[in-house]
Each structure stands twice: as structure tokens, then as C-alpha cells.
């Protein structure tokens, strides 16, 4: 079986990011996953243990005390060493902000090619073939790298987590400072994650609000409906720009792409860039006061009307049903 390198993202306090488990799952469908992670030495045991919990059998740990003196250099060096030592068939990296930086630098440093934003990966005659969902799902494209080994950025949320293993073997490698002036990290504020709500990318129900909600206070209407349906909360860019919802809830071309069973758009016009992030949903419901809003062109069930009337009534209706049918 070929070796597949997997870049592991961790938080400053040493917890695995939520991109890790699914990415390991994708790697295991292609070959033997080898995790590559860099962190300060005292995190080694805890990270190795978390990785074996996530199904990893083999970890390359790059020990560094440079964690705030660089954005990505220790990661790039660790991966460069691992590429030389393990002759992988592919390097998998989550398509995240830091992941893209790591992938870009690594590609140039080791002279490998890139496959961008894969939503599916398979082996065909020994080569890694990737599927991509382009222009918001309007096109399905398959690509590969000829005469080379790819570095693949994998769309977040793709992949099934693995069973835990009995403990992973850990190779320790050394990294040095960058040979260029680096970017220094100052104060870090972790973004709040809604602990009680499902993750936006993988939720089976998403309720999103737009500029039509009119204020941050009114946006609570969307949150109430989402919570009632055990759904995640999304937002249009206009709603994010207006401060109604945090930036990591933005759905669309430049935000998150979702494909839930149910997507409810409240006070969202359905601009093409918003549709790019949600038109793969199985069922789309739209509530909008403008009967000509383009969101209705793709809605399975559209209600022309005032969200401030309809959403509270809908909450009451759903509440009544759930008490009737236990």
C-alpha cells in the first residue's frame, strides 16, 4: 500500500482541529496514512494520543518552539522531510486558510503539483484522481497529476472518521527557522464555536438569514428556528457584513459550501454567489417578501411573505406537531 501524508492542524493549546478526523478517513481510502504535525515538544504525547484516537497508526512529529514565530514554516519543513523519507503517493491537506498556505509553499519547495479543493479522491491505475465541484456545483470536474505526485487540498467536511487505533508510532524530526524573514503571530482570539449546534458544513438542516432580517436582534428568529430543527445557522454575506451573524456562518461562493437535507433561506434574495454555496441542498425552502426574488427559482417550497409573521407561526406549528406526535 502506498504512503499517504496527511497534514495535521492543531490549535495553539494542542487540540486537533476538526479537519483532522475526516481527512484521515480520506487518506485511508487511498493507502497507508502518515500524519505529519508540528508543535512544541511538550505537546507530543497528547497529540499522538489524540491522533491514535482518530485512527492514525503512524505520526511524524516535528518538534518546534517556533510556534508563534511563524505561520507555516515548521509545517512545511516537516512535510518536506516526510516527502523525502516516505515517497508518498499523495500529500493531503485540508482546504483551510493555513492548509492552503502550507500547500502552496510545499508545492514550490519540493517541486510537486497541486490538486485544489477535492470533494472526492480515488486511485485509478495507481494515480490519485480527484473530483471537484466547480462554480457552486454547476460542473463536476475530474483531475489528476501526470508524471508527478500531487499535493491535494481537500474540501473541509469530506471524509468519514476512522476507528481508534491501539496507539501510533511516533517519529520525531527537527525543524529549523525559516531562511526568509517570517510572519510573527501576536494576539490570537479563537473564534467561538456554537457548542450546542451542529457544524455548519455537515449539518443535515441549515437555517440561514439574510439582510431581510434587518438587525442582529431580529436574526435571533433564524437561530430559534434552527435550534428547533436541530440545525446549524447560516447567513448571507450581506447579513455578515451588517454584523447580524459571525463571519464563519457565511454560506456561498466566498463562504462555506453546504449540502444539507433541508436548507431554509429567510430574507435572502438568492444572489448567484449565495446560491453557489447551497444549491446542492436536497430540499430548499425560501421565505421572502419579494415574489420576484431569485431564490424562488431554485426553491422546492417558496413562501412569499413577511418573515416576521411566518417564522414565528412556523415555530409554533412545528412545536405543536412535535407535541402531538411524540
Amino acid at each position: 500500500m502506498s504512503n499517504i501524508l496527511v497534514f495535521i492542524e492543531t490549535s495553539p493549546s494542542g487540540e486537533l482541529r476538526n479537519t483532522v478526523a475526516p481527512l484521515l478517513g480520506v487518506a485511508a481510502t487511498l493507502g497507508h496514512p502518515i500524519c505529519v504535525v508540528s508543535a512544541s515538544p511538550e505537546r507530543r504525547e497528547s497529540i499522538a494520543q489524540q491522533l491514535s484516537q482518530s485512527g492514525a497508526g503512524h505520526v511524524v512529529f516535528a518538534s518546534t518552539d517556533q510556534t508563534t514565530a511563524s505561520l507555516v514554516e515548521p509545517h512545511v519543513q516537516a512535510l518536506t522531510t516526510a516527502v523525502q523519507n516516505f515517497a508518498p503517493a499523495a500529500v493531503l491537506i485540508a482546504n483551510s486558510v493555513d492548509g492552503r498556505d502550507v500547500a502552496g509553499r510545499l508545492a514550490v519547495r519540493v517541486g510537486m503539483n497541486l490538486i485544489i479543493d477535492a470533494v472526492e479522491l480515488r486511485l485509478q491505475d495507481g494515480a490519485v484522481v480527484a473530483a471537484h465541484s466547480i462554480f457552486g456545483g454547476a460542473y463536476l470536474v475530474e483531475s489528476t497529476v501526470h508524471d508527478g505526485i500531487p499535493i491535494v487540498t481537500v474540501r473541509q467536511g469530506v471524509g468519514e472518521p476512522l476507528e481508534a487505533t491501539e496507539g501510533a508510532t511516533v517519529d520525531v524530526v527537527e525543524v529549523t527557522a525559516a531562511n526568509y524573514v517570517d510572519v510573527v503571530i501576536g494576539e490570537v482570539a479563537e473564534k467561538t464555536v456554537e457548542q450546542d449546534r451542529p457544524e455548519l458544513r455537515s449539518a443535515s438542516t441549515v437555517v440561514s438569514g439574510g439582510r431581510g432580517l434587518g438587525s442582529k436582534e431580529n436574526f435571533a428568529l433564524v437561530e430559534t428556528l434552527a435550534d428547533l430543527l436541530d440545525g446549524a445557522v447560516g447567513a448571507s454575506r450581506a447579513a455578515v457584513d451588517a454584523g447580524y451573524a459571525p463571519q464563519n456562518t457565511q454560506v456561498g461562493q466566498t463562504g462555506v459550501t453546504v449540502a444539507p437535507d433541508l436548507y431554509i433561506a429567510v430574507g435572502i434574495s438568492g444572489a448567484i454567489q449565495h446560491r453557489a454555496g447551497m444549491q446542492a441542498a436536497k430540499t430548499i425552502v425560501a421565505i421572502n417578501s419579494d415574489e420576484h426574488a431569485p431564490i424562488f427559482d431554485i426553491a422546492d417550497f417558496g413562501v412569499v411573505g413577511d418573515a416576521f409573521e411566518i417564522v414565528p407561526q412556523l415555530v409554533a406549528e412545528i412545536g405543536a406537531r412535535s407535541t402531538r406526535v411524540p
Binding site: 490549535s11 486558510v97 493555513d98 492552503r100 498556505d101 502550507v102 502552496g104 509553499r105 508545492a107 514550490v108 519547495r109 517541486g111 510537486m112 503539483n113 497541486l114 485544489i116 484522481v129 466547480i134 454547476a138 460542473y139 463536476l140 470536474v141 475530474e142 483531475s143 489528476t144 497529476v145 501526470h146 508524471d147 508527478g148 500531487p150 487540498t153 473541509q156 524573514v181 510572519v183 494576539e187 490570537v188 482570539a189 479563537e190 473564534k191 430543527l229 454575506r237 463571519q247 464563519n248 461562493q253 466566498t254 437535507d261 444572489a271 448567484i272 415574489e291 427559482d297 426553491a299 417550497f301 413562501v303 411566518i310 407561526q313 412556523l314 409554533a316 406549528e317 412545528i318 412535535s322
Partner: protein, 258 residues
Amino acid sequence: MKIVALIKQVPDTYGERKLSATGVIVRGAKESVIDEISERALEIALSHKDKDKSTQVVALSMGPESVTEALRKALSLGADSAVHVCDDQLVGADLVTTARVLAAALKKEGFDLIVTGNQSSDGQGGTLPAMLAEHLSLPAATALDSLEINGTTLRAQRSTDYASATVHTTLPAVVSVTERAPEARFPNFRGIMSAKRKPLSALSLDDLDIDLGSDRSGGRSVVLTSTQRPARTAGIKITDEGQAAAQLAEFLSAGRLI
């Protein structure tokens, strides 16, 4: 101070976007625009020039003939000069080639700061800023919501998937901005008129001493198939006359969605 803003011309996201069977974007000059995120990158450069008149702003782009239109617009917004990397051999160039060519053009042009968008709206690779930085042995301060330049020090607010952080580094550097960075200004009449007199130079691969055939050690990315998915169609649409919420609840429960 010399700031080079990287400009990408893309299919207008407000229009219908098409891919050929080989996965190459079908470019109709009419629906092509400067990517919104490139405009924000240019705005960073121009707002620095507003504060410090000695700043020289260069708009750099690689792409087909039609790209001159995008560069003219950049000039009309206030860039001092523009450089267009244009060569028939670059049609369908992959990221590795694009980064190599742009890095060569940047070296030739010279710079103190390179500003790009974080991710284009067509390719959405988001790896180019880091690739350029690696080619040029520079720091890459990516995904910046805002930034401040003081002499040769750059301080910025960087936003990742998980956190927001203050970062700093020293020029020369590559930075990429997010869509939280300020929107672009509008061109005014004076800008449009003076754009016609500003220098717009073209560079070919020969000018950059690049032979694409010479280094292919990393392989080539190849599109195998490209298929268009059927468009979604409209379903039921009702107008609320007091019963809509109940009907919607019925629809959801019939589909076992609640």
C-alpha cells in the same frame, strides 16, 4: 515604496459561468471582470498611495488579450502603471506554472510589497500568495482583514478558519486580503482619461527567460472530465394569506424533514 497589486480577470460571477470539456474557463471578454477580491487588493495599494504620494502602484496580471481591459480599469482607479504577462503558451496554465511566471515577472518589475486577493472567485485555489512568497523567499502574511504599513513594518489582522490573530512582519513581503478588506473605489472621469496615457507594458515568456518545457519535474495537472450538472428548477410557491406557515409545516412533515 513600490506596491504591486496582482489583478485577476475572471468570469463575472453575476453571469453564467462556463467550463469547456477540458475544464478550461470559457472566456468571453464581455462577461469578464476584475475579480472583486483583486479590486480589494488594489484598494489596499491605492489607499496607501493616498496617504503617501510617493508610493508607486503597479497592477500586474497574467492572462489572454482581454486582460488589458482589466488593467486599463486598474489604471483608471489610480494605479501608476500596468504589466500584462501574455503568451499563447500560457493558455490553461496550472498553478505551478502561474506561480513561476508571476514570480519571474515580479522579480523583473521590482517591489517592496505584493498585494493579492486571498482566493480568486473562479479557481479558488488560494495557494498562489504562499507560492509566490516561496519563489521569492519572502514572508507571506495571508488572509488579512486589515493591515497597516509603517515604514518597513507591516501589522495586520489575520483571519483563519478557527481564529483571528494580530500578525506582523517586515517588508518586502507578500500579503493577501480577504473580502473583509475595504471595497474598491469607483473610477472617476479624470481617472479614466488619464489611464489612457499611463504605461501598460506586455511581457512574453521570452522576455522573462522562461522555457516552459525545461522544468516539468513535478508533473502537470490534467483535467480528465468536465460535466455540467442539470440546473435546479422551481417547485411550489405560495403567497402568505395567513396559512403559509401551516402549509410549509405540512410540506416539511410530509417530506420527513421535521
